[in-house]
Amino acid sequence: MTDKNLLEIRGLKIEGRRDGKVTEIIRGVDITLGEGEVLGLIGESGAGKSTLGLASMGYTRAGCVISEGDIRFRGENLRNLDAAAQRRLRGRRIAYVAQSAAAAFNPAHRLGAQVTEVPVLRSLMTQPQADREAISLFEEVQLPSPVAFGLRYPHQVSGGQLQRAMTAMAMICKPNLIIFDEPTTALDVTTQIEVLTAIKKIVRDHGTAAIYITHDLAVVAQIADRIKVLRYGEEVEEAETARMMAAPRENYTRSLWSVRSFRKQAHTDAQGQPLATIENVIAHYGELKVLDDVSVELHRGRTLAVVGESGSGKTTLARALCGLLPSTSGQVTLSGTSLAPSFRGRRRDQLKSIQMIYQMADTALNARQTVGEIIARPAELFLGKTKPQSFDRARELLDLIGMEPGTFLHRYPGELSGGQKQRVSIARALAAKPELIVCDEVTSALDQIVAEGILKLLDQIQTELGTAFMYITHDLDTVRAIADDVAVMHRGKLVRYGPKEKVLTPPFDPYTELLLSSVPEMRCGWLDDVIESRGQTATA
């Protein structure tokens, strides 16, 4: 029985030790994986997915210890092997693909050299053999000009290409097992589909077993044979993909499945004077034109979603609106008055009216200021409050965002979770009592359940205060959830703009069509359908 299974994990427990405190990260999980089988691991952040993925290689991060259980790879218990024997397995028989390929590749070496490093180092191949193998793998993952690709440096290729190169790197020793740790989470939908296609194809063609870690159900449904749901380091349930999608047994799984169903109530129609307008704005980064004649309107109590892939100019549009990137021509107006192109030329009450919330709360909040100081400052500055008054305002706002003021007022951002940090950013933006809030990918770095909480909070704020939102995102599900108006951007141009119902109903222009069809759907076989239909259009 043991011989048939490639990987067998029994009763695995992993403890994290920090400052003398012991926390259980994995509390007794079993995994059985046959040759060529793909297992999807899914759960919220902190569920222990990545820890479990690394443990499948017999590896733990610094500060983590495997306290109990067996990890058998082809019948051999990895826990009994010494470091040298484990190293012989890793990279050769078990490979790992990390979430951020950009951070995992060394920027100072050519891609080819990095991809071929392991087989040459382990004397499995000579350099010319490894180079040939790399080229054929580059071809398999559909990288452009496979022969020349290995000569490039990581910064010379796109994020999606880098992720595919990493998959090729993992495959080069023909391993029996690959662990994919959120390989597409950081990518746009249009890029994600390329990477998914490449991963699916290569895993199937080589009959490699894989553990695919993600928090995106729709993605895992395309790749995995079986899905295991994790929560707090414990298994919630495991089943064949089809059955899991159709009839999840546990409540928790059902809640994961239903996250994508949030829709806000329709707000007031766009009527009367717009609160703010962006008119024929053109902007440049140096010589490069990044915004090309863009015009949109923002209305009180409504949300304009700006959607597009990275590099489409959607964040630039927000920066032009805020005055962080002065536009070269065109104008931005607020309540009928024209604003100076640069924020330095704007009046304080104008600065107060437009507030911004960033994607990465980690860099948006000063780690050396307490939550109270962070939220109180805009109130003090813009509303002319005294220090104690501004702290009262901070307390009110913490209440509003659902964080207990007594507990959180004097904490530092480092002591908060990702979702809490984002809530503090929202409170800071609200402290100034703005009329318009610009949200730049505010939920992209959060997992679905936390993100839904943030979206609901923004919706509640809009209902209560009538704030206008400009919401920048690459996620079309979010657009469906919260938008009243939608602007689709591509290469600095507005390709489609109007009320949500109109923008998201056919007939589509080619780009919007591509964008919409690239969003993974919550059903098995969606990826195959898309590949097939695109293949047909390509050959036709």
Partner: protein
């Protein structure tokens, strides 16, 4: 924090002990010293005795007394100069990194010009122009060492000003001073504090070197650098007395470095 301070490494403990001793000498020099610093108490170059523990110098002044007063003149002067260098360097670095553009360019390139000239020669040149007064020495050394502080500050601040919390502060219309004080400075304390310790040593050595050349602290005030020079002839007779002020300089710089290492280690969060 308290737990960490509980286990001070021996090197840092040594450093702290030395710095404390020196501080006492700086603060209470007139009380501790047996004689006045310019008082001639006997014949020149008297050997070590109960009356004069380290003998007398080339003019017949008590060596121990001058060592104690030397701490006051040398250390206090170096401290003032270092602080001034930090004021110049950090202000220029932060302002340049926030304002960017021409201001940053102007400051950066002027510093490059200053740094291109060897420090000692440049100092000698400037002091020839101004004349060798105490104030001039402090200002010249602070300017030269300030360029090094600027380089560090500009590098650290360069990484900080691109953070979104600084952008958010700018969007709020916060003043330059507020951004430096509340957003940048708290995030730059660790490297700047480490630099402060190191820079103090360099300034100290620089002033001693200038004094040795006769351009720093003017006689008859006691200063360790010039005390080495004045009594250097004794070495030829096999007397180690002139090495005492030199040793005082060496021990202080080593001690300060021990403390800096310890501080760096603590703030970097590395375990043993």
């Amino acid at each position: 924090m308290a737990r960490r301070i509980g286990k001070i490494p021996p090197t840092a403990a040594f450093g702290i002990a030395v710095v404390t001793t020196y501080s006492v000498a700086v603060l209470f020099a007139p009380v501790i010293a047996p004689y006045g610093q310019t008082e001639v108490v006997g014949a020149p170059f008297l050997p070590w005795s109960g009356e004069h523990p380290f003998g007398t110098d080339n003019l017949g002044r008590d060596m121990l007394t001058r060592l104690i007063y030397g701490a006051r003149n040398s250390v206090a002067l170096a401290l003032v100069t270092t602080l001034l260098a930090f004021l110049i360097g950090t202000a220029a670095g932060f302002v340049g990194s926030i304002l960017k553009g021409w201001t940053d360019m102007a400051i950066g390139r002027s510093v490059d010009v200053l740094m291109a000239i060897p420090a000692l020669i440049f100092a000698l040149l400037l002091l020839t122009i101004t004349g060798p007064s105490l104030v001039a020495t402090v200002l010249v050394v602070a300017l030269i060492e300030g360029t090094r502080v600027y380089r560090l500050t500009r590098a650290v601040a360069g990484n900080l000003v691109v953070m979104e919390f600084v952008e958010a502060a700018q969007l709020r219309g916060e003043s330059l001073w507020w951004i430096i004080r509340r957003e940048l400075l708290p995030n730059a304390t660790a490297p700047l504090a480490a630099e402060l310790g190191l820079r103090f040593c360099f300034v100290f050595l620089f002033i001693s070197a200038l004094s040795f050349l006769g351009l720093g602290v003017r006689p008859p005030l006691a200063e360790w650098g010039s005390m080495v020079r004045e009594n250097a002839t004794l070495i030829t007779y096999g007397d180690i007395t002139p090495l005492l002020p030199a040793a005082a300089i060496a021990i202080l710089t080593i001690s300060v470095n021990f403390i800096v290492d310890w501080f760096l280690h603590m703030t970097s969060g590395l375990e043993e």
